[in-house]
């Protein structure tokens, strides 16, 4: 610390901003590139998507991979928006978060948001189901669900997960953490292997 002299360390302008450096190291741990925490509206989602598109274009990310990331991101963001909790008494203080990262092998998308407890079972079932299937199995499941699509919520949620699984070509990681008798936190991690 030879560059610091007593005048500067006592300066009130050089506050303890070491938390910025710490956060930077935290992001560095898993090579996270983007974190957004807050409201997820249609507008906002569009904005996050254009940012990502632009960023990956400038990095010459391979077209196919870029499209996959984009499509998966659409699904993930829509999922967060759909589960938006507007009004009610029992809502935990929890803002949804979205993260996008890269490391040597994969691109990673992470979401974490509130979900009503009654939505957990069908969602978990679906994720477990897609995780147990191979490429062929997923293709068939997709066709099946598409054919049987009623416009009920359940079917809607299902297609998205299948689509994500097909595109990512990796197991989907997730967790549900109960917050209270109405809500839980659903965290979702999707990996897209670099081609």
């Amino acid at each position: 610390m030879e560059l610091e002299n007593s005048f500067e360390t006592k300066s009130s302008y050089q506050k303890q901003l070491s938390h910025i450096y710490s956060f930077h190291k935290l992001m560095d741990e898993n090579d996270i590139m983007l974190v957004y925490c807050g409201d997820f509206s249609q507008e906002l989602n569009k904005t996050l998507l254009s940012f990502t598109e632009r960023k990956f274009k400038t990095e010459n990310v391979e077209d196919n991979t870029r499209r996959k990331i984009f499509n998966i991101m659409v699904e993930v963001l829509q999922n967060i928006s759909k589960n938006k909790v507007d009004a009610g008494e029992n809502i935990p203080d929890f803002e949804a978060i979205f993260m996008l990262g890269t490391n040597n092998n994969d691109y990673i998308l992470i979401s974490s948001n509130l979900i009503r407890n009654e939505k957990i079972a069908p969602l978990q079932d679906r994720i477990e189901q897609v995780n147990s299937l191979d490429k062929e199995g997923l293709k068939n499941l997709y066709k099946e669900v598409r054919l049987n699509a009623s416009f009920s919520d359940k079917a809607g949620a299902g297609i998205g997960i299948i689509d994500i699984a097909r595109k990512s070509e990796n197991k989907l990681e997730y967790s549900f953490v109960e917050m209270n008798n109405e809500y839980s936190v659903f965290s979702f991690l999707i990996r897209i292997t670099k081609q």
Partner: protein, 183 residues
Amino acid sequence: MNTNFRNDLDYVNRVRGQMNKNQLMLCYRGEMSQEIVIALLNLTENKLNQTNDDSTIKTRVFSVMVECLQNITQQSKESIHAKSNLFMVGYAEHGYTVYSGNVVKKENVEELRSRILEINTMTEEELKEFYKSLIKNESLSGKTGFGLGLIHIARKTGNALEFNFEQIDTDHYFFSLSTLVDH
């Protein structure tokens, strides 16, 4: 750095914890280029436009962002530390805080530090005069150092520039800058 992502979804909680603690809304870490600066501007602008904040605050956030990020773009060209550039926006009591971070060479630390300290001690009048004299200085045409930009930020926000230098290796420091944009 891990080559495989940690299966532990508690990492997400750690990130969220830090975001909450520091009232952060948006964070970007990585290469900086004109393209990315514009993309970040669009992202931030669109996000802020969804709030009812008065347009002066928004324009000032925008302004601070441009100066910081374009400065980083210039500094991190061809740098092996390009991936370490950081840009964040957070909520503040009556506005927003804009954070930027990037790796700087040890030999540039002292000058940067004293420039910021100097700017922080100036009155509004002094800043105005300093700005006017710097802008007339011929040598500024073209590659601007961070001088004019820092003064501009200080003038527009009326707040002191908060900063920090963390040593990361024998020749480099991580420079963090925090600017409060409020009423």
